[in-house]
């Protein structure tokens, strides 16, 4: 009996009759399934790629830096319980000058063993070869940098290594699991044109940095059952006499941290977004199925009268629901596979893997479809249950007129101002408040999603405005190879084109409060700093106190610190010294997380004289090339960075991606808005076709009847718009909290234009739905209406 031929034909014809609404619902289901597939296939692909790259290229588990330690110490590190492999390296910073690129480039230099491959953090060679053993001028350069400057094996590049000018020859282009995310420490975005990783044979780097027989960088692989926390204390004890700054595990490794935070964010949103869409789809299916079952009361009764079982009738409607879901799930899967591909290739721009194998696993597909079906069935359970439970005899009788009552507005005595059509609208809405509320919620949800889409752009604009327009206004940041005396300020100020110089001190520390620890740097700034300022939440400047520490809100939260608390400062200069300082205030910063003091107070805390680590420079317009050239000749300048360079390069790469995202987002949210409004309109029409027809017969014009039908829609839509602003802002807050990390915090800033755009899309969806339904009203056959029984 199940799915008998005649019943199957009825199924298909009902499906066809409902095609308008099926299309609207399918669009929402498709969006949900697509988001599901995109999220989970991207996560699976990224994780599989990360795992393979880490494993095959032996990404280390623990990392440590020292000032200078003899090689035998590395051998002793290998004997620490739980350590399986040790790789000792020489690492340093250099400046590069790329022909035709007028700005300074910072490079991280890392040693490869003199022969063969490294044991850990191995190089993946995209092209070329490794430097020849003993070769002093040959390097392998990181792939994104090579791409940004069209460099290839054989290219030559001028470098300042530890104060000495040299020419380096590129022999290979490579990648490493250590630098999947290639970002310069302290930068907001990767800048492939101004930051490079370069690998050289160890003897060459030993010679350059006076490190013969010694190392300053250690990478460890642990035994499978060992954990970093067990190894790090012993390692720190071993390295302390050599200027060890404290070893850390993968969790603290910059590239790994970014990648795992991105994956964490993806995983967090992977369920939320598709389930929002599928929830809306379930709501719409509930409306449609309830109406279909209601309209087919007599058919259900006839089927049952002729001996169809309740189960068969129930299954019939379940099949109808399944058909509607699959109508959306199939295009959703295709869209998801396409979108997932796009997402993965976008990720390969930011995370540099040797390969990024996009794979759409059958489990992801099945789960996506299953979740959509489950949501739909949950939404339509009640309607199907009604069909199953309907006693045939009762179904044969016509239903009594629907019950209405006077609305709240009228009970308040305001009916004098309402004409009959308006009373009809209000009473109809009040009769089923849950439906009206859910419709409002559905439309508002669409508006909320639209708001989030543009919010990210608003927030990034705001972050950049505040961080680079208010907090840091310098043109250049100059970092010295080592801390130096204040006379360097006068030397820099004397350079032609430099208008102002503000020195800073930077000290790597670990802040400790109770059981919690946080690794950061204390920035020492002059009390009258103009270029680099500390701001509070209201963007007012917080003056640097005479003594005491200002900490970033983020650090305050992580450590549970409040103004007035005393925090322990462990110096990471290898001395193992510990200080205590009082927290004088909290700083609102969006990028990075630092602590700030007056330079004089910081130097007092460190029991040192007036030394500085670098300086901020203001440069006269048009004079940057001269200043760059002058700095290029100064060996003690370790790095020069231009404030806006990173933003520009970010905007270049991200501009288009953000546009695509905004477009896709608008499309998806638009599908929700259209689905909800159109279904509400269609429901209202089918419920009221008869009474609207009666009114037309009584002499109402098309316009007057359209008012009754569309007035209800207009009310729902207008009520939903402010709600959508609230929901949108809530979503933005969720995104902001979900993505907050020590790297950056996205402020909840939503521009009026973003709200306006969301409202416009909702209105457009409402107008389109209204037009579609009005067309039916226009073509209504009045004679047919009379034949319909109540």
């Amino acid at each position: 009996m199940v799915g008998g031929t005649a019943l199957t034909r009825k199924l298909l014809r009902d499906f066809w009759t409902l095609r308008g609404q099926v299309l609207a619902i399918a669009a929402v289901v498709a969006s949900g399934v697509a988001m599901w597939v995109i999220a989970f296939s991207t996560i699976a692909s990224l994780e599989a790629t990360q795992d393979a790259f880490y494993r095959n290229y032996r990404f280390a588990d623990v990392f440590a830096h020292v000032t200078r330690a003899p090689d035998r110490i590395a051998a002793r590190a290998a004997h620490i319980d739980g350590v399986r492999t040790v790789e000792a390296r020489v690492s340093g910073q250099a400046r590069l000058a790329v022909p035709g690129f007028g700005e300074p480039v910072t490079a991280r230099l890392l040693s490869l063993p003199n022969r063969g491959e490294a044991r850990l953090n191995r190089l993946f060679l995209r092209s070329g070869r490794r430097p020849a053993p003993g070769a002093t001028g040959e390097i392998v350069i990181s792939e994104p940098f090579a791409e940004a400057h069209a460099l290839h094996p054989g290219s030559r590049i001028a470098a300042t290594v530890h104060g000495r000018q040299r020419t380096l020859r590129i022999v290979g282009i490579g990648l490493s699991p250590e630098f999947v995310y290639q970002i310069q420490p302290g930068a907001l975005f990767p800048d492939y044109r101004r930051y490079a990783i370069a690998w050289m044979r160890r003897p060459a780097l030993e010679a350059a940095y006076d490190m013969e027989g010694a190392f300053n960088d250690l990478a460890l692989e642990l035994a499978p059952d060992a954990r970093p926390e067990q190894v790090i204390p012993a390692l720190d004890r071993l390295l302390a006499p050599y200027g060890g700054t404290g070893a850390y595990g993968r969790a603290e490794q910059v590239s790994h941290k970014y990648l795992s935070q991105e994956l964490k964010g993806l995983r967090a949103s992977a369920y939320v977004v598709p389930l929002l869409f599928l929830g809306v789809a379930a709501f719409l299916l509930n409306i449609v199925t309830t109406r279909v079952v209601h309209q087919q009361r007599e058919q259900i009764a006839v089927l049952k009268a002729f001996g169809y079982t309740n189960a068969t009738v129930g299954l019939h409607y379940v099949q109808l629901v399944a058909l509607m879901v699959l109508g959306g799930a199939v295009p959703g899967l295709l869209l998801g596979a396409w979108g997932g591909h796009g997402m993965a290739s976008m990720y390969s721009e930011f995370f540099r893997f040797p390969f990024l194998a996009y794979e759409l696993q059958p489990a992801t597909v099945l789960a996506g479809v299953a979740v959509a079906l489950l949501a739909a069935l949950a939404g339509t359970l009640r309607a199907v249950h009604r069909a199953v439970r309907l006693p045939p005899a009762e179904a044969m009788r016509p239903e009594p007129p629907a019950s209405y009552r006077a609305t709240l507005v009228e009970r308040l005595g305001l009916q004098r101002w309402l004409d009959q059509p308006t009373r009809m609208i209000l009473r109809h809405l009040e009769r089923r408040p849950a439906n009206a509320l859910l419709s409002i919620l559905g439309i508002a949800l669409a508006g909320g999603i639209l708001t989030v889409g543009n919010f990210q752009e608003d927030a990034i604009d705001y972050m950049i405005d505040v961080q680079f327009g208010l907090a840091s206004q310098e043109d250049l940041t100059v970092t010295f190879t080592e801390d130096t005396g204040r006379e360097a300020v006068f030397e820099l100020a004397a350079l032609p084109g430099v208008r102002a110089v503000e020195p800073f001190r930077s000290v790597a520390v670990e802040l400790v409060h109770g059981p919690r620890r946080y690794r950061t740097a204390i920035q020492g700034l002059p009390p009258d700093a103009r270029m680099h300022r500390t701001l509070d939440r209201a963007l007012d400047e917080i003056p640097l106190p005479h003594a005491g520490l200002l900490v970033s809100q983020w650090i305050g939260q992580q450590l549970g610190l409040h103004t007035g608390d005393t925090v322990t400062v462990e110096l990471l200069d290898g001395s193992g010294d510990v200080r205590h300082v009082q927290v004088a205030g909290m700083v609102e910063d969006f990028i990075g997380a630092s602590a700030y003091m007056r330079t004089s107070a910081l130097n007092r805390l460190l029991r040192e004289g007036p030394v500085i680590s670098g300086a901020y420079l203001a440069v006269a317009p048009g004079q940057l090339p001269e200043v760059f050239a002058a700095l290029e000749r100064r060996p003690r300048v370790a790095a020069v960075s231009r404030r806006t360079a990173a933003i520009e390069s970010f905007m270049e790469t991200m501009g288009r991606t953000m546009l695509v995202f905004a477009f896709v987002n608008t499309l998806l949210a638009g599908s929700i808005a259209l689905g909800v409004v159109y279904n509400a309109a269609r429901l209202a029409y089918s419920e009221r076709a008869r009474e609207l027809g009666s009114l037309r017969i009584l002499g109402f014009t098309r316009g007057e009847t359209a008012y009754i039908l569309l007035g209800e829609l207009a009310l729902l839509t207008l009520a939903a718009i402010p709600v959508s602003f609230v929901i949108g802002r809530g979503f933005c807050r969720l995104v902001s909290v979900g993505l907050a990390s020590e790297l950056y915090r996205i402020p909840v800033v939503v521009e009026t234009s973003t709200y306006g755009f969301a409202a416009l899309v909702i209105l457009a969806a409402a107008l389109l739905s209204a037009a579609l339904v009005a067309r039916r009203l226009y073509r209504m056959d009045l004679v047919e209406i009379l034949k319909i029984r109540e």
Partner: protein
């Protein structure tokens, strides 16, 4: 009012509300052609209560729909007070229904979300010279049920609200399609009393279509319709009061 009259008989134009000439209506349902009306000639006069009697499918509803401006004929014409109805467009027909016609349907077609009073008001609000909803409802004996919603009224009461709604704008004609079709006989008679009273007190030209021959005995004239044609017209020498009817 009681003189014999046949279709096409000479009367003064002032007395004639509807003149129907050679009216035909053909429907195409799929590949089947149905001749619902097949050459009707008829006059309805001011103030009369005419019953159009015929079996199901005889074409009487089609005729009423064309008279009411809900449908257009395939052939022939309808003159309403000397002006051709059949030449008007949709907007003109809507205006005609709005200003001149009152409808009563078999299934009442009340607006469930409006009270009795408001169901009448929805028509008086757009009418040119209406009576008040309360007066219209008093005329059908529903003064006590003004603020009840349709769900709170019996079938007969609902139909009387429909009649009040139809006559409240003081229409020139009242067209009733099986007004008692969904009611038991006792309730049906109460509804017919309301129609009779409206016809007598307001002088509204009333056309009632029914398949119930008993109802014809309260009419001035009975027009028999069969297979889309007029099969005959009877003048009732003696009219019965609705309370004298039974079926």
């Amino acid at each position: 009012m009681h003189e014999p009259a046949t279709a096409g008989a000479a009367t003064t134009d002032n007395d004639v509300v509807f003149r129907v000439e050679d009216l035909a209506k053909t429907y195409h349902v799929g590949e089947v052609t149905i001749d619902a009306l097949n050459g009707i000639d008829l006059e309805l006069r001011a103030g009369e209560l005419a019953v159009l009697l015929g079996a199901s499918g005889s074409g009487k509803s089609t005729l009423l729909n064309i008279l009411g401006g809900l449908d257009v004929p395939t052939r022939g014409r309808v003159l309403y007070r000397g002006r051709e109805l059949t030449a008007r467009d949709e907007a003109a027909l809507t205006a005609y229904r709005r200003d001149h016609v009152g409808f009563v349907f078999q299934f009442y077609n009340l607006i469930p979300s409006l009270t009795a009073r408001e169901n009448v008001a929805i028509v008086t609000e757009i009418a040119r010279d209406p009576m008040t909803p309360a007066d219209a409802l008093a005329l059908v004996g529903l003064s006590a049920r003004l603020d009840h919603f349709p769900a709170q009224l019996s079938g007969g009461e609902q139909q009387r609200v429909a009649i009040a709604r139809a006559i409240a704008k003081n229409p020139a004609v009242l067209l009733c399609d099986e007004p008692t079709g969904a009611l038991d006989s006792k309730t049906g008679i109460i509804v017919l009393e309301a129609l009779d009273r409206v016809n007598r007190e307001l002088g509204t030209t009333t056309a009632v279509i029914t398949h119930n021959a008993v109802i014809a005995r309260m009419a001035h004239r009975t027009i028999h319709i069969s297979d889309g044609r007029i099969a005959g017209v009877d003048d009732n020498a003696t009219r019965l009061r609705p309370d004298e009817l039974s079926w």
